[in-house]
């Protein structure tokens, strides 16, 4: 199954990108990503610019600065992985170096092919 691991961090606690603390963390992220690749679970992964660089779009072309809602934790990056089940995804999420100042939300990726195939048999013929 494919999962998106959404990395949420509290900007007040997380070290700023490029700061010495953040740089000191890079080896941990690198070895995490390396382990993910070696296991064959890695699909994609990126870090995001902070919320101060975010833009939100709403209906009717309304564009605003910042995130869509005020929350303490902001999305800071993600991994897309392919693992057998939720327990495996939880095990990877539990190894994230960012857990000291945030959380990881695990979302299964919607499988459109399976959903299309879920139409009852014979429905196409009717």
């Amino acid at each position: 199954m494919q999962y998106l691991l959404l990395i949420y961090t509290d900007p007040a606690k997380a070290p700023a990108m490029g700061s010495p603390e953040s740089n000191a963390q890079m080896p941990k992220w690198n070895s995490f990503t390396e382990a993910l690749r070696e296991s064959g679970a890695f699909l994609a992964g990126d870090a995001l610019h902070p919320v101060s660089a975010a833009t939100t779009v709403r209906k009717d072309g309304v564009v605003t600065d910042g995130p869509f809602a005020e929350t303490k934790e902001a999305l800071g990056g993600y991994y897309a992985i392919d693992v057998p089940d939720l327990d495996a995804a939880i095990a990877w999420a539990a190894k994230m170096p960012s857990l000291d100042y945030g959380s990881v939300e695990i979302r299964p990726v919607f499988d459109f092919a399976a959903a299309a195939a879920a139409v009852p048999q014979g429905a196409a013929a009717e």
Partner: protein
């Protein structure tokens, strides 16, 4: 014949529902397995009175449930491969009664997966493992049947969509996951023992169901001290249930209970299970609580209860899981043991805690300590605070009686 068939069906339902469902869930997931197992029992209710009870009812049901699962899966194009895989598996041997695999532990742990909400864990455990009808689960938790059905559908959908696996957690995962399972069973028992809402004091069916599930867990995990500890706690608590209400159904406090009404057989079994747990030499919160319950059961009277030992056990419990409620119980036990100075030391910081301002037992213990110290004025004031905080009429009148007796 029909009566025989009905009795056989009821017996098989009680004994084999979870095993049939679990065996199927391993292959098709909890959702489809639950629906197919219900189908199979409905089919048995139809067929057995007509054709006679099969030689191995459990195997008959396993085969029927599998057929119904295959039918259900084939209706969806995306599930056809799964249906074919299931159809290709060897049929459970109907001839040897002991030959059916036992996947009930995996089922219990899946229903209690931490990715499900506590509400969903409880509902799913009662439905899938306990075999309760949706309407029964709804009644037990005082929600409407459609609301409970919705809760169960959502839980089953989450298992499927999120990819919650049907497996036993191992290694480092097991202690935490076992804790969740024990907590769910404890919640069910508590809801049965001390209904959080409703008119009656408790809902015995739910307590009995929790005990039945805990017995099953104790059989499946015979070397888990906390699983045995939980079962012992339930048995030793339930043993005292007949004394908790008087002839009119009104609540009777521990001090006033007629101890001859306690269920000695249940208490004996509870103590036996507790000894087995302690013998495994790995104490935990449920065992400590069971030890406290055991001391109550063994005491000849309220006054001649070993309050020192109970206070000691509450102290250990507070170390294992710090909580102001446990500290208050410990202070109350110390008060009854005559150690008023130590009780006062525990109580004073708690009285300053704003979260406990309306916690009745805290003020009742505070009042009793003042009374024993000879400060009638402070005792009455503390009882006033306890009475003002109480939402229960029976409790209020009891507190008022004690206040008047100062």
């Amino acid at each position: 014949m029909t009566a025989d068939a009905r009795a056989a069906l009821e017996r098989t339902f009680r004994d084999e529902w979870a095993r049939v469902l679990a065996g199927l869930a391993r292959h098709v997931g909890v959702g489809v397995a639950e629906e197919a197992t219900a189908d199979a029992f409905a089919q048995a209710a139809d067929a057995w009175p007509r054709d006679g009870v099969p030689r191995n009812p459990a195997a008959w049901l396993a085969v029927a449930a599998r057929r119904r699962a295959i039918d259900r899966l084939r209706r969806e194009r995306s599930q056809v491969a799964r249906a074919d895989a299931l159809a290709a598996l060897p049929v459970p041997a109907a001839e040897e009664p002991g030959s059916m695999p036992d996947d009930r532990l995996e089922l219990l742990f899946t229903c209690c997966h931490p990715a499900l909400s506590e509400e969903a864990q409880v509902a799913l455990t009662l439905r899938a493992v306990g075999g309760l009808e949706t309407a029964q689960v709804a009644r037990a938790f005082l929600v409407t049947e459609p609301a409970m059905a919705q809760r169960l559908v959502r839980a089953k959908h989450k298992i499927e969509a999120a990819g919650i696996p049907f497996r036993m957690p191992d290694g480092d995962e097991l202690p935490g996951r076992l804790h969740t399972v024990l907590h769910v069973l404890y919640l069910v028992f508590n809801e049965g023992y001390e209904a959080t809402a409703g008119d009656a004091l408790g809902r015995p069916d739910l307590a009995a169901e929790a005990i039945r599930l805990s017995r099953l867990l104790a059989v499946l995990m015979p070397d888990e001290p906390e699983a045995l500890g939980l079962l012992a706690l339930m048995l030793l608590t339930d043993a005292r249930a007949p004394g908790r209400t008087d002839a009119d159904g009104a609540f009777v406090g521990l001090a006033e209970q007629d101890r001859t009404r306690w269920d000695r057989a249940l208490a004996g079994e509870g103590n036996h299970v507790l000894r087995r747990a302690i013998g495994l030499r790995n104490a935990g919160p449920f065992q400590l609580q069971a030890m406290i319950a055991s001391l109550h059961v063994l005491a000849p009277s309220f006054e001649r209860t070993d309050w020192n030992q109970i206070a000691e056990l509450y102290g250990l419990l507070a170390q294992a899981q710090p909580s102001p409620v446990i500290e208050i119980n410990r202070a109350a036990a110390l008060t009854l043991a005559g150690a008023c100075g130590r009780a006062r030391q525990l109580i004073d910081p708690l009285l300053a805690d704003p979260r406990l301002r309306s916690y009745v037992p805290l003020h009742a213990t505070d009042a009793e300590l003042h009374r024993l110290a000879g400060d009638a004025g402070a005792a009455r004031e503390a009882y006033d605070r306890a009475i003002a905080a109480s939402a229960n009429a029976v409790q209020r009148s009891e507190l008022a009686r004690r206040r008047a007796a100062i």
